[in-house]
Symmetry: C2
Subunit: 219 residues, 2 copies
């Protein structure tokens, strides 16, 4: 079981028993989402932006317009931090103090570089789309030269990372279990609903298997 | 209709037609969630952490342990940026380039101060819990002195903010509408499932109305 070494940067300080540094755990949490929150420093301030991403081996790819301030700031900074969070439930305790949430989150730290190689860049674009809906890249019109050149792709190496997971019931103070106060967990899940086809669709074009499968897997 | 003035910090550069600076819009997106991603600068690097929050008038409140690195770094920095994102759908276009997502997001910038006044601090703790499940604070055991003193509450003033919203169908290139390629929107929603009561519950304690209402409103 390979683990990321803990450093000052990735070591989970609060709630260390919920920390997890296993590469497989980090990858599985990253692969279960396609939206991350990425942080960058702009004039000394931290700015947080949601953006799509994908993971391929030990790299993260993001894309954006050539003029995107976040992308340019990340490139200038040379390193990035990004976080992916799945909210899995509300943990409603007897005491206000022990209220919590069940979640899986990962924070990644790594170096940023611009992807210029055309083959690698196209592979990254396919990877980002397939991270949203697996296999869907093969069902769409792929980028033409103009679109391809207007897109900036950045690679972030997963140099170090940490995961934090809470997946359990209520933990109240011993004496509070005698109180006539309700406690429990409300499960939360991000779900997909049936696809709404574009009104301008040509007759006879069906929802592709990739989209149907995505919806089935996220019901 | 009151708006935040646009400055270099909050002005949306990419996709400005999706930008919204109305105070009411910003508040409504903030009030529809309880989990934000907050950014802070640690040794020159931006770090992003998910955390619970609430809004009360033009202030955001967050809480944590007295030794929480994020909280202490935010206090030291004196200002903060936080982002709240609702993912509302996948926008699957005919072309890879026009794939997008429907979402509502807000980024807030403001000053950070520690809340020391006991009445204001207790109100902030109630506000954070009620932001998760409206009205639930009155159904739980409230903090004792030890718990209260072990909790750090920070206030972030909403000095400026911007919202970004995409809530529409597919926008493909004109010539692509003739292609026999499927396009459409897959709606996405974060939903709550039936509460799982704690096994150690005293006999006869029922799920409170606040929790039932939360689940009903988030089905």
């Amino acid at each position: 079981m390979t683990e990321y070494p803990t450093t000052e940067l990735n070591k989970v300080k609060r709630g260390p028993k919920r920390a997890n540094y296993e590469v497989d755990t980090v990858y599985s949490i990253l692969d279960d989402a396609f939206l991350c929150h990425i942080g960058y420093v702009f004039k000394g301030k931290a700015i947080v932006i949601p953006t799509a991403y994908c993971r391929k081996e030990d790299k993260i790819y993001i894309h954006g317009s050539l003029k995107n301030r976040m992308m340019l700031s990340l490139l200038e900074a040379g390193d990035a931090s990004l976080t992916v969070t799945h909210l899995d439930g509300l943990v409603l305790a007897r005491s206000a103090f022990h209220h919590s949430a069940n979640y899986r989150s990962v924070t990644v730290f790594g170096e940023v570089r611009r992807v210029d190689d055309p083959i690698q860049k196209m592979e990254a674009l396919a990877c980002i789309l397939n991270h949203m809906v697996p296999g869907h890249w093969d069902h769409v019109r792929q980028p033409n030269e103009k679109e391809f050149n207007a897109t900036l792709v950045l690679e972030i190496s997963i140099d170090t990372a940490s995961a934090k997971i809470r997946a359990e019931g209520v933990n109240d103070e011993l004496q509070d279990y005698k109180l006539p106060i309700w406690a429990g967990v409300v499960p939360i899940k991000q779900v997909a609903f049936d696809a709404i086809s574009d009104k301008e669709m040509l007759d006879g074009v069906e929802v592709p298997s990739t989209v149907l499968k995505y919806i089935e897997n996220n019901k």
